[in-house]
């Protein structure tokens, strides 16, 4: 099946036609015609490369009550993603070739997005000894990103070893920067509000201190390092400084950290409880600027599904985490595009090209994050920026409903998603 997309704005630019044939982008030009191809009227729609998420929690194996690879893949496709990196904090932990291969196969069976498993850095995420990183890299899953996300690799020697070891197969360690001793029992951003609300604070310095240590370590051993879910203004400054030294540091920010602040904790509603926590307006501004100037390389959702009972209790007892796949593009549009900080070309860069580069999936037969150009695989997303929608967790494909944007009106709607020329979403509905 071939597809002729008529009148789309390529990366938000000029209106043009695009022909998808045999899984590739065949032609991009005005006035295209292709008898036998399905036509899509894309007047007013923006066409972007398929989005690549470097940080998703698919929960399978172990927490299929919250999400499965299948339901998470559906969520991703609806959000405009064609590839997601599935984090390793499953049960059992993805710290062996066997588990990563299982997740990879489940992704292929679901068939909505390319699921690229992330391997744990340490066995069982316990931070004691390295997992078999090489075996995971060599497995059919081809793991290149390693992370103990959920936990920090806090032992400096272990982090050093991990940074060194992955060089052998062009891997990268993605650090969840959280000094554990400074954040024991932490519930929300440490600041004036946490003192008033009586919730234990998670100080920004616990993130900044680890980032500072790790960029210096990476530089010292000549490795690259990636920083997960940056949440604080100070962290942005440290990363900017590290990059100015020419060090190979990359960083991500979540959509929720671009839009929401810790004021929401005053409701004591755990839908706003997340790790790292929502912080202040000053932090949100710094993160937006960082993403705009490229200090923060990518947007990554940290999609974290939780069943209702884990989010319906008193704050202290609730799980940390927010859904993100189906709202990511809308939130980025609201926070960055509609505010003039980033154009659609920039969105393509931060949400497709760079994440694929960091994850090392931008080459080869299943390449993602390629430019939208003739000869490239047709991984595409069609967005209607003019269509605003009210967010409802119940209406999402995810098995969970814990979205912090519940009831909010957000701009933009994914109309179609193509995975190597095959539509996974058409008219905003799964295929």
């Amino acid at each position: 099946m071939n597809w002729l997309i008529k009148g789309a704005r390529l990366l938000g630019g000029e209106s043009t036609d695009l022909l998808v044939r045999d899984g590739l982008v065949a032609e991009i030009d005005r006035g295209l015609d292709a008898p036998g191809a399905e036509r899509i009227d894309a007047d007013g729609l923006v066409i972007l490369p398929g989005l690549v998420d470097l940080h998703t929690h698919l929960r399978e194996p172990g927490r299929e009550d919250a999400e499965t690879v299948d339901s998470g893949s559906q969520s991703a496709a609806l959000g405009g993603f064609t590839a997601v990196h599935a984090m390793a904090n499953t049960d059992p932990v993805a710290d062996t070739a066997g588990v990563v291969e299982q997740v990879w196969r489940l992704g292929r069976e679901a068939g909505y997005v390319d699921v690229r498993p992330v391997g744990a850095v340490t066995v069982g995420l316990r931070g004691e000894r390295l997992a078999e990183l090489g075996a995971m890299a060599d497995s059919p899953a081809g793991v290149r990103v390693f992370s103990d996300d959920g936990h920090c690799v806090s032992d400096a020697v272990l982090m050093r070893r991990a940074l060194e070891y992955v060089k052998a197969f062009d891997g990268v360690v993605a650090q969840h920067a959280q000094e554990p001793r400074l954040t024991e029992g932490a519930q929300m951003n440490e600041g004036e509000l946490s003192g008033r609300l009586g919730l234990r604070g998670w100080p920004a310095v616990a993130e900044e201190a680890i980032i500072a240590r790790d960029v210096l370590l990476a530089a010292h051993v000549g490795s690259r390092v990636h920083i997960c879910h940056v949440s604080a203004a100070g962290s942005v400054e440290i990363i900017r400084w590290a990059k100015s030294k020419g060090w190979d540091v990359t960083a991500e920010v979540t959509p929720h950290h671009l839009l929401l602040t810790d004021e929401l904790a005053a409701t004591y509603d755990p839908r706003y409880k997340v790790n790292p926590p929502l912080r202040t307006l000053a932090d949100v501004s710094a993160l937006r600027e960082g993403l705009a100037d490229g200090t923060i390389d990518i947007v990554a959702t940290d999609h974290a599904p939780h069943p209702v009972e884990d989010k319906e209790s008193e704050w202290d007892a609730a799980a940390m985490g927010m859904l993100g796949l189906e709202t990511a593009l809308s939130v980025v549009q609201a926070a960055m595009v509609d505010t003039g900080l980033l154009d659609w070309t920039g969105v393509a860069d931060r949400m497709s090209y760079r994440p694929a580069r960091i994850g090392r999936c931008d080459t080869g037969p299943h390449a993602q994050g390629r430019p939208v150009a003739a000869g490239e695989p047709a991984n595409l997303v069609l967005v209607d920026p003019a269509h605003a929608r009210t967010i409802s967790g119940r209406e999402m494909a995810s098995l969970s409903h814990n979205t912090p944007f519940e009831g909010m009106k957000l701009p933009g709607r994914v109309v179609a998603t193509f995975l190597r020329g095959r539509p996974t979403v058409l008219d905003g509905v799964l295929r």
Partner: protein, 311 residues
């Protein structure tokens, strides 16, 4: 107003109304042989205590019974954390029982807030202490006690001393005393003050002696010895030496100054026995006043019934 979750919920007029009503309650039931008023007959007040507290629970129970309400004590051991019945399920059970008011004490800050705003119950919610967040009726009975001795609290200088970081009593008192026009000074080592305390409507000092000489009342907060294991202070001895109210410091207080403590006391830690038992200590009165203040709160929240719920 349907709920009392925080001292900040009360305007100056409302807080004064509570205190005046408590005064009348004390006047009506204090000396009489018959201590009961029929006002809340037919209403059900549930004491929902997730944290043990015989003192506060008994106080609320007495208050409700003196207004002829039916009292149910629901001691919910465990919480969602320890896999006991969840907050939501407990709430739904209470709603099914027809509770008119729920008095909640919980170790998690914000739990009463969740109960009040979740839509699980329709009852009035009274916060009897949530985590390190607030304890509004304690602040009200403290203010009532001080007012009885000092008169109107405008311009009065109150010192609150001790583990402010972990104290819901401190938070509620700072808010309420400020609402009533008093000037509050918090005294504690820097480790026991929350980040951002500079934005609170009060002064802060690391030194106790100079503050005592200018205070009309000093409220000593409980300090747990175990805090030294988390490095909040080096030893119990150093804490009580620098921040304990002993006989020498007692002598620095003005002649009419009051000594308060929300209880239970750690005699020898934040306060010595002789000071706790001195004639300027109103610690026992605080307990008595607690019943009157809680009667006032229950009356003002509940007595109006349907009209109040509709407004």
């Amino acid at each position: 107003m349907r709920h009392l979750l925080s001292a900040a919920d009360l305007s100056r007029e409302q807080a004064t109304l509570v205190l005046d009503t408590a005064a009348e309650m004390a006047h009506l039931t204090g000396g009489r042989a018959v201590k009961k008023l029929p006002t809340l007959r037919g209403r059900t007040v549930v004491n929902l205590f997730f944290e043990d507290s015989t003192r506060t629970r008994t106080s609320f129970e007495l208050a409700a019974k003196r207004l002829s309400a039916d009292v149910v004590n629901f001691s919910a051991k465990g919480s969602s954390l320890s896999k006991g019945e969840s907050l939501k399920d407990t709430a739904l059970t209470l709603a099914a029982m027809g509770a008119d008011a729920v008095v909640v004490r919980h170790s998690a800050s914000g739990a009463p807030h969740r109960l009040a705003h979740s839509g699980w119950i329709r009852a009035n919610v009274i916060n009897a202490g949530d985590g390190t967040h607030e304890h509004p009726t304690q602040a009200l009975l403290d203010a009532f006690t001080m007012r009885n001795h000092l008169g109107e609290l405008d311009g009065r200088r109150i010192a609150i001393v001790g583990d402010v970081l972990h104290s819901r009593v401190a938070r509620s008192n700072v808010l309420l005393l400020r609402t009533l026009g008093a000037e509050v000074t918090l005294v504690a080592p820097p480790t026991l003050l929350p980040v951002g305390v500079g934005a609170w409507p009060c002064e802060v000092s690391y030194e106790l002696d100079p503050v005592l000489a200018k205070s009309d009342a000093v409220m000593m907060l409980r300090v747990q010895r175990e805090r030294m294991n988390a490095a909040f202070f080096p030893s119990a001895r150093e804490y009580s030496r620098r921040y304990g109210l002993d006989a020498r410091r007692f002598g620095l207080l003005p002649d009419d100054a009051l000594v308060l403590h929300p209880g239970p006391m750690n005699r020898g830690m934040e306060i010595t026995a002789d000071v706790a038992d001195s004639e300027r200590s109103v610690i026992v009165e605080q307990v008595t006043n607690g019943v009157y203040v809680r009667m006032a709160v229950l009356y003002l929240l509940l007595a109006g019934g349907e009209a109040e719920a509709a407004s």
